[in-house]
C-alpha cells in the first residue's frame, strides 16, 4: 500500500462542487511520484492497440491514478462515499493526422439533472493544443440534445480545449458535450476514460460543506454566465436546472418548478 493511497481524500469545497454543477467538469492535477506518468505511457505503448475494458489488466498502475487522494476526494464529493468504478473503460489513442470527432454526449439520451455517473479522463502526458486535446462545452450537461443533432456544429463560442499537464484527471458529468480534436503533432495523444457510478441517492453532503457561507457561494455560482447565448431564456432556465441539481446533491429531492428563477432574483 502506497503512502498516497492511505492519505485522506481531498474533498471539494462548496464552491468547487457548485462550479462542477455549473460547468460540468472539474480538473484534478494530482502530484504523482517521479516518472509515474512516463511509466504509464511506456506501458500503454507496449500494450498496443485497443485493449477495451482490459486496459486495467494490461496497465495495473492505472489503479493508482484513481486511488490518488485528490481524485478519490473529487469522486466522493460528487458521487458519495460508496461510489464504484464502472466495468467499462477505454484507451483513446488520438493518432497524428487525425480529424476531430463530432460533438457528442456519451450513451443514450436519457437525461436528468442529477449526478449518477461521471467520466474520469486521465492524460498521462502533456497535451498541447496541437496534439489533439479533448474539447468540452461548459454547461451542456443540462442540454437534452441527442448527439445526432449536434453534427452541424464545428467550433462553438466558449468551447474549452483540455490542454493539460501530464497526470491531469478531468472529471466530467456523463452528459457533457465533448469531442476529440485533430492531432497536428507527430505524437499520439493518450487519454484513458474511466466511468464512475453513484450507488445511492445523496444524503448529507459528502464534500467539505460550510453551512455558514454556502448560501452566498451558491447564489453567485447559480447565476454564472456560461452559455455563449448570453442572457437568453436558456440562461434563466439554467438557474433552475442548476438549483435542482444542487438541491438534489444536498439531499433535497424536490423538483424546481419552471419560473422559480424569479425567486432567486431578490
Amino acid at each position: 500500500m502506497t503512502e498516497l493511497s492511505t492519505r485522506s481524500p481531498d474533498l471539494l469545497s462548496d464552491d468547487q462542487v457548485l462550479k462542477f454543477i455549473v460547468h460540468g467538469y472539474h480538473l484534478v492535477e494530482p502530484e504523482f511520484p517521479e516518472k509515474f506518468n512516463e511509466s504509464i505511457c511506456e506501458q500503454l505503448d507496449r500494450a498496443g492497440g485497443n485493449t477495451g475494458n482490459g486496459i486495467l489488466d494490461a496497465v495495473p498502475m492505472l489503479e493508482e491514478v484513481f486511488d490518488h487522494p485528490e481524485v478519490r476526494g473529487t469522486l466522493i464529493s460528487l458521487l458519495g462515499e460508496d461510489y464504484a468504478m464502472n466495468g467499462h473503460r477505454h484507451l483513446h489513442s488520438n493518432e497524428p493526422g487525425s480529424h476531430s470527432q463530432g460533438w457528442h454526449q456519451d450513451g443514450t439520451n436519457v437525461r436528468h439533472h442529477q449526478i449518477w455517473c461521471v467520466l474520469a479522463m486521465y492524460y498521462p502526458h502533456d497535451v498541447p493544443a496541437e496534439q489533439g486535446p479533448t474539447v468540452v462545452m461548459p454547461g451542456t450537461h443540462f442540454r437534452n440534445a441527442p448527439s445526432d443533432r449536434l453534427q452541424t456544429y464545428a467550433n462553438i463560442k466558449g468551447q474549452v480545449p483540455l490542454t493539460v499537464n501530464a497526470g491531469t484527471v478531468v472529471i466530467a458529468h456523463y452528459d457533457l458535450w465533448h469531442a476529440a480534436t485533430l492531432n497536428r503533432s507527430d505524437r499520439q495523444r493518450y487519454m484513458l476514460k474511466f466511468l464512475f457510478d453513484r450507488q445511492s441517492e445523496p444524503g448529507p453532503p459528502t464534500w467539505n460543506h460550510a453551512p455558514d457561507t454556502v448560501d452566498e457561494v451558491a447564489q453567485r455560482r447559480i447565476r454564472e454566465q456560461v452559455s455563449p447565448q448570453g442572457y437568453s431564456s436558456d440562461y434563466y432556465k439554467e438557474w433552475e436546472l442548476r438549483t435542482e441539481m444542487w438541491h438534489w446533491l444536498l439531499g433535497q429531492h424536490a423538483a424546481v418548478p419552471p419560473g422559480a428563477f424569479k425567486d432567486m432574483l431578490s
Binding site: R143, L150, L182
Partner: protein, 132 residues
C-alpha cells in the same frame, strides 16, 4: 484537389460580359465565347456556412459556425486552435456576400423547463468559381 479562385484571379460573369460587349461591337463574337460562358457557369460551386445564432434574429450574436468547402476531401472539424468565429452576426455575413438559404423556425419546439441545442441554425451559401 480543387481550388477556389477569387474574382481578381479568374474570369467572372462580369468580366466575360465586358469582353463580350467589346467583341459584339467589333463583330468578332462567336461560338468559342459561348463555350467560355458555359465553362464559367460550370465552375461555380456552392460554399456552405452553418451559423448558429443566439436567437432567430439575423442581428443576434453568432455562437457557432461551420464552413463547408465544395472540394473533394474537404473536412469541417472542431479546431482547438481556431481563431474567432468568422462573423459576429448573420447580418455581417450577408453584408459579406453570403445568402441565407435556411432560416430557423420561430415556432420551433418549445419547453418551459428543459434546454436542448445551442442557438438557432441558419444555413448560408456563397457561389464561387472553382477549378480542378
Amino acid at each position: 484537389m480543387s481550388d477556389r479562385t477569387t474574382d481578381s484571379e479568374a474570369e467572372t460573369v462580369e468580366t466575360w460580359v465586358t469582353e463580350a460587349r467589346r467583341k459584339v461591337e467589333e463583330g468578332t463574337f462567336g461560338p468559342p465565347d459561348l463555350d467560355r460562358m458555359v465553362s464559367l457557369y460550370n465552375r461555380t460551386r456552392q460554399r456552405l456556412l452553418y451559423v448558429h445564432a443566439g436567437s432567430p434574429s439575423i442581428y443576434s450574436n453568432v455562437v457557432a459556425a461551420a464552413l463547408h468547402e465544395p472540394v473533394a476531401g474537404s473536412i469541417t472539424e472542431i479546431d482547438p486552435m481556431a481563431p474567432e468565429l468568422p462573423y459576429e452576426t448573420v447580418h455581417a455575413a450577408i453584408v459579406d456576400g453570403w445568402r441565407v438559404i435556411h432560416f430557423p423556425s420561430q415556432q420551433a419546439f418549445f419547453d418551459d423547463r428543459e434546454i436542448d441545442v445551442i442557438g438557432y441554425e441558419f444555413i448560408l451559401e456563397k457561389l464561387e468559381n472553382y477549378h480542378d
